[in-house]
């Protein structure tokens, strides 16, 4: 049997809203994943170096304060440079300020390299079952 995939979690940039990432980490652990929980205010560079050192399979970022796009400026270039093109990238939360249409926001984050983008109040257990496991399997990581 293959070992459990390693998933990194944390709130990106200067966002200190830690509850979301704690819920995500807990759900991942319960589902049997190996979780590296970085907590709050994790810089994009830290996500990258930790993913290298832990040989991570996916990064699940959360952000609530609406400034994620600013925090993630240049992220895709950096992670490609670091040889992490193969690492699955998800982000979820309140990604821009105010009420917004997720369909409008999603492409902006996909351009930053994210494979999946989730609006507020997403059911994380459903995401793990329907998306994460499927994506990991598709990449031969599970």
């Amino acid at each position: 049997m293959k070992k459990a995939p390693t998933i990194i979690t944390g709130t990106v940039g200067m966002d200190a809203h830690v509850i979301g990432t704690k819920v995500v980490s807990r759900a991942l652990k319960d589902a049997g994943f190996n979780v590296v929980a970085l907590g709050m205010q994790v810089s994009p560079e830290e996500f990258i170096s930790v993913a290298q050192e832990t040989n991570a399979d996916a990064i699940l970022m959360t952000s609530l304060y609406g400034m994620a796009e600013l925090d993630l400026k240049g992220f895709n270039d950096k992670r490609m440079e670091a040889g992490l093109g193969d690492v699955l990238l998800y982000i979820g939360g309140n990604l821009v300020i105010g009420r917004y249409d997720p369909r409008e926001v999603e492409p902006r984050f996909k351009n930053l390299g994210f494979d999946r983008v989730y609006p507020p109040e997403t059911d994380i257990v459903a995401v793990i079952e329907s998306d994460l496991k499927k994506d990991l399997k598709a990449r031969g990581k599970m």
């Binding site: 070992k3 390693t6 940039g13 200067m14 190996n34 590296v36 970085l38 205010q41 810089s43 830290e46 170096s49 930790v50 290298q52 050192e53 832990t54 040989n55 991570a56 304060y65 609406g66 400034m67 600013l70």
Partner: protein, 455 residues
């Protein structure tokens, strides 16, 4: 009945011996003679013991119990190789420094052939391989072990302190080799955790068992029992004993030891280094409670060029350049002007070395306002700063020199001590305290309390 213990330091230039009366807890005699590692280490040691016999009238010194440390024959020279520079590479480096080594090479990511040749040419006593958290990356450390397997006799000792799941693969790679390979716990078992103690122990063990033999230091065993550690490690042991105390003596609490030498300057801090302000975010790899840094470009004898560079924007005493040139030629400071120049250089050494050792604050401007991010250790609250090493001990104004370790309002982002007491190791006994702490910690502490001079 006397109760004399001999504490010996085989240095690269001098062999120093301190004879201590354990019952009275006092220094009986000290001696300093040129080291004779190149020919036969016992010659110099014998001479030092004769000197002590002459001064004290105590005979049969060879039969007394003795402990020794050594930095002779280049000290303990190590190369560290990890994966990500600010993670496992840094962790490996901290582990080597904490074991008293001199890090002669420092690498990250997969080693290239050129780098492997470089390592081989530098002929280190030990190569320390790290890389990957436990269960994490395997590619880099396995690749690096493969590169080392192709090296020749110059590399004999290898310590593997990386991702534990790679041990079996590495064993298979190095099996056909005659190299001495030691497997120990990962220096960074998971992100955010530094575990250097097991690696430190292996380094010291290797030093005692193999390395002193190879360097001819083990010959001293004809006279004394054992050479137990590298000298910087003895100083670190002393610093820890002084900070933590022993048996009812609470010690000095968090402290910094600055050891200024001819070729390098060591800084040791024994402090948790937590942020003084609760709203500060701590970033990067957590640094060890006992942290040692070595500044290879700051020394009062062999690195004068670098020091003069630091003086560029400062006011210098008259005739400064000419006097420094004379230091280059081996002149010792004698006249008032020369002493002033030497002091200035020492001050700048201390300032630069402590600034690099201490943590720093960065102000990050975020969408939600200003945030303080701390890297490394906050030493602003440290209350004890101890100076040692010739240029500090023998200076006419050690206090001025050590005051260059202080926090400065002009640069509030470097977290140096704000209001400490200063001590100088006037009798040059810190290494001896460290050695003695291995067998008689309470007495070693009392000795240090007696002979460290508050200035």
């Amino acid at each position: 009945m006397d109760n004399i213990r001999l504490l010996i330091d085989f240095g690269s230039t001098f062999t120093k011996v301190v004879a201590v009366d354990l019952t009275k807890e006092e220094i009986v005699a000290t001696a300093r003679v040129p080291s004779t590692v190149e020919s036969d280490i016992t010659v110099g040691l014998g001479e030092a013991l004769r000197k002590i016999e002459e001064n004290t009238g105590i005979g049969n010194l060879e039969e007394k119990e003795a402990l020794a440390c050594s930095s002779a024959a280049g000290g303990l020279r190590m190369v560290c190789a990890g994966f990500v520079p600010e993670l496992t590479s840094k962790a490996a480096n901290l582990a080597a420094l904490g074991a008293g080594a001199k890090v002669v090479g420092y690498y990250s990511y997969k080693l290239t052939q050129k780098e492997a040749r470089e390592i081989e040419a530098s002929a280190p006593d030990i190569v320390l391989l790290a890389g990957g958290t436990d269960g994490g990356d395997e590619k880099v450390i396995i690749h690096n072990a493969e590169m080392l397997s192709r090296t020749g006799k110059n590399i004999t000792n290898i310590i593997i302190a990386g991702n534990k799941t790679t041990h079996d693969d590495i064993k298979a790679i190095l099996r056909e080799n005659s190299k001495n390979v030691i497997y120990t716990k990962n220096v960074m078992p998971e992100i955010g955790t530094l575990d250097v103690a097991p690696c430190n122990r292996e380094i010291r063990e290797l030093f005692m068992k193999n390395i002193i033999e190879a360097k001819g230091i083990a010959r001293a065993k004809a006279i004394i029992k054992d050479v137990i550690m590298p000298t910087p490690s003895a100083v670190l042991e002393a610093a820890r004993l002084l900070a933590d105390g022993r048996d009812g003596d609470k010690g000095f609490g968090a402290l910094i030891v600055i050891d200024v030498g001819g070729a390098t300057t060591d800084v040791h801090s024994i402090a948790d280094g937590k942020p003084a302000r609760p709203d500060t975010i701590v970033a990067g790899l957590p640094e060890p409670y006992e942290k040692r840094t070595v500044e290879g470009d700051l020394g009062l004898k062999y690195n004068l060029d670098r020091l003069t560079e630091l003086c560029k924007d400062r006011e210098t005493p008259p005739g400064f350049e000419e006097i420094v040139r004379s230091f280059h030629e081996g002149k010792l400071p004698q006249t008032e002007e020369e002493i002033a120049c030497h002091r200035l250089l020492t001050c700048l050494t201390v300032e630069a070395a402590v600034s690099r050792h201490a943590g720093r604050i960065e102000v990050v401007y975020s969408p939600t306002g200003e945030r303080l991010v701390q890297y490394g250790k906050d030493l602003t609250g440290v209350k004890t700063v101890i100076g040692t090493g010739g240029p500090v001990i023998f200076s006419d104004n050690s206090r001025e020199i050590l005051s260059h370790a202080l926090y400065r309002e002009e640069n509030p982002f470097i977290l140096k001590p704000k209001n400490p007491y200063f001590y100088v190791d006037a009798e040059y006994i810190l290494y001896a305290v460290g050695l003695l702490s291995q067998t008689d910690p309470k007495r070693a502490l009392n000795l240090a309390r007696k002979y460290l001079k508050r200035i």
